[in-house]
């Protein structure tokens, strides 16, 4: 009698019967629990329950109907055990199977076998493991807090954590999380900041230690923040009032300017130079992105930003 057999029989018993069994009844009805004494049976049973929970099998302890008060038994509710059928069409299955192949999850919160088992549970098509697709993405899910935050978003539970802002300020934060995002290789969580009473964005690698999750159903979600969109406009765009900024670039560098600003700027061609006009809520943050252009870029306006750049450069001279 192997342990695998015993565990399998235990799941089959609890799943099939639909009624709860006490530990003693389980001991009689599942082969392999023939332990010399109560204490060693208990220990074995506890280890078995822990193993099953780790695999995601939902064993619940509930009052046994028809028995005296306080008598509890173990059960597995089929609707909790079973994967709800998402009713995927064949092309949807194929697309999802391809996605699992094309994205490599760098592990941590996700175990190495998790994508494969997810594919098997959903009956996604298999692929030739020796042939790599032409395009692959690697996504880092090493941070276990990604999974925790996804759970909090799904359950609408508020979270608290210790956080260091980009400016270096450290403190405790409370958030009603509404969205998770991964942009540029970094994970972010966004939602309603309870202390500052407004929408805020947090980078996970600046969260120190654990994320504490509150009770489910604590808040309603309105529109979910689109984290990539919030960040695509550049760090200078997030904030309150906007200021119009104009920057001149040498013609040969126009392509890099377009790479930098994407759709958030309007470009005007002046022959051997190009100007970009954009709105910035925090114009100073533009300086960091313009320095790599060296002498091929010049801030035209606002005057305050020109002065700020001159100050930054002059500060480096003796």
């Amino acid at each position: 009698m192997s342990r695998v057999e015993r565990l399998f029989d235990l799941i089959a018993l609890l799943l099939k019967s639909g009624r709860p069994f006490t530990a003693e009844q389980i001991r009689e009805m599942v082969p392999g629990y023939d332990q010399p004494n109560q204490a060693s049976f208990r220990k074995m049973f506890e280890r078995d329950k822990a193993a099953l929970r780790e695999l995601g099998v939902p064993i619940a302890l509930i009052p046994v109907p028809g028995e005296a008060d306080g008598v509890e038994g173990y059960t597995i509710r089929p609707d909790e055990y079973r994967l709800e059928d998402p009713c995927l069409l064949p092309d949807e299955r194929a697309a999802l199977g391809l996605a699992l192949r094309a994205v490599r999850l760098e592990s941590g919160a996700v175990a190495e076998d998790d994508p494969r088992y997810a594919g098997l549970k959903l009956s996604l098509p298999g692929y030739d493991a020796t042939e790599l697709p032409p395009v692959i993405a690697a996504v880092d899910v090493a941070d276990g807090r990604v999974a925790i935050l996804l759970g909090a978003v799904a359950e609408r539970a508020a979270v608290t954590f210790e956080y260091t802002t980009a400016a270096g300020e450290f403190g405790s934060r409370s958030l009603e999380p509404a969205a998770l995002g991964n942009v540029g290789g970094h994970w972010y969580v966004a939602g309603h900041d309870l202390d500052r009473d407004g929408r805020r964005l947090f980078r996970l690698d600046r969260i120190a230690g654990e994320v504490v999750v509150g009770e489910p159903g604590a808040f309603e979600v309105g529109e979910r923040p689109d984290i990539p969109a919030l960040l695509s406009a550049g760090p200078w765009a997030i904030g309150g009032k906007n200021v119009e900024v104009e920057i001149r670039f040498d013609g040969g560098e126009a392509w890099r300017a377009r790479n930098l600003f994407g759709n958030s700027a309007t470009f005007h061609d002046h022959g051997d130079s190009v100007t970009a006009v954009l709105d910035a809520a925090e114009p100073e943050l533009l300086i960091d992105s313009l320095l790599p252009f060296r002498t091929t870029a010049e801030i035209i306006r606002p005057e305050s930003l020109r002065r700020r750049m001159i100050e930054h450069l002059a500060g480096m001279l003796p």
Binding site: P58, P86, A137, L313
Partner: protein, 333 residues
């Protein structure tokens, strides 16, 4: 977050046991959902040997429910080449997704939306929507969004086509370390995203070696009519982890004003040491002098160059030339 360290045979066998049970719990419903599946197919999908499969089948045969009379046992066997499992109605539907499996699906699926050839089909978005609906009573659509990196020119699509079609590509590339533009003919092997950036891994005839090229440094690209045969190229070590070329040096700076957070976030410094005056001594690997000058220009007066000292005049020179653009001359006389 790492698992507690344990040693010894007991833990290893407990691991194997859980793996086996995990596999059985998924395999039984899978076989029942794929009638007519062969031994070869099951072995391939579940990554087991024929011997392991037969062992699993024998295992299933003795499982069932109390009182374990013949009618209560599950049935499993091989008929011809087919694997058959029956009498296990309660195992017909697979076990729900574990948190790790759910996260895999949502993360991989949403990241794949940005991959040409995978994400441009509407089927992927609708599949994700259906999956996310089953994960919670709340509509989770839009709750997780991944953007690998912006690729405003959409180069990865052209490169993906070139990889599949085995066509050579000519690129005008702006190398960060040399701060110069070069034109190269490359044979692209793979397009991939790593750490938030898109790259192409290709054989570069100019370098006579494999190279990683960052797509946001490609000024222009044309797919040539010339094709190449990957098997004729030398073996590459495609570990898809672009690391800086050998060479470079250690840069040491003293920084103030909370910049440690920024530097640790973006640069992965070798060491950060607090100093008595409240500043920090940070040590970073610099791939080239150009790169180091670029970093120091961004840090500005908040950084004091400790080593190599001769970088100071280079940084000052660069700042002076930029000030001239603003009509500010710092030279006396």
């Amino acid at each position: 977050m790492s698992a507690p360290e344990r040693t010894g045979a007991a833990y290893a066998s407990s691991d194997r046991l859980k793996e086996r049970l995990r596999r059985l719990l998924v395999m039984v419903p899978w076989v029942m959902e794929h009638p007519g599946t062969t031994v070869a197919e099951v072995c391939d999908r579940f990554m087991i040997t024929r011997r392991e499969l037969l062992r699993d089948i024998n295992q299933i045969m003795v499982c069932g429910v109390y009182p374990y009379s013949p009618g209560d046992l599950m049935w499993a066997g091989v008929e011809g080449d087919e694997v058959v499992i029956g009498e296990a109605a309660y195992f017909e539907r697979p076990l729900r997704l574990t948190p790790g499996e759910a996260l895999s699906l949502v993360t991989a699926g949403r990241a794949a939306l940005g991959i040409p050839g995978v994400g441009d089909q509407p089927a992927l978005a609708s599949a994700l929507s259906k999956i996310e609906k089953t994960m919670s009573t709340e509509l989770l659509e839009g709750a997780v969004n991944l953007e690998i990196s912006s690729d405003p020119l959409g180069l990865r699509e052209f490169l993906a086509d070139a990889v599949v079609g085995r066509r050579q590509v000519e690129i005008t590339y702006h190398s960060a370390s040399e701060d110069e533009e070069t034109v190269r003919v490359i044979s692209p092997i793979r397009v991939f995203a790593h750490d938030g950036k898109w790259y192409v891994y290709a054989w570069c005839s100019r370098a006579d070696d494999y190279r990683f090229f960052r797509l946001d440094r490609v000024k222009s690209l044309s797919v040539l009519t010339d094709s190449f045969d990957p098997s004729e190229l030398p073996d590459g070590a495609e570990d898809l982890d672009p690391h800086p070329d050998g060479g470079g040096f250690e840069l040491k700076v003293r920084i103030s004003g909370g910049l440690e957070v920024w530097m640790t976030d973006y640069l992965d410094p070798g060491s950060v040491a607090a100093e008595p005056d409240g500043r920090s001594l940070v040590s970073i690997h610099a791939s080239s002098r150009q790169w180091a000058v670029g970093l120091l220009l961004r840090l500005g007066s908040a950084a004091e160059i400790v080593e190599p000292v001769d970088l100071r005049s280079e940084v000052e020179g660069a700042a002076e030339r930029m000030l001239e653009i603003y009509g500010v001359s710092n030279r006396s006389g």
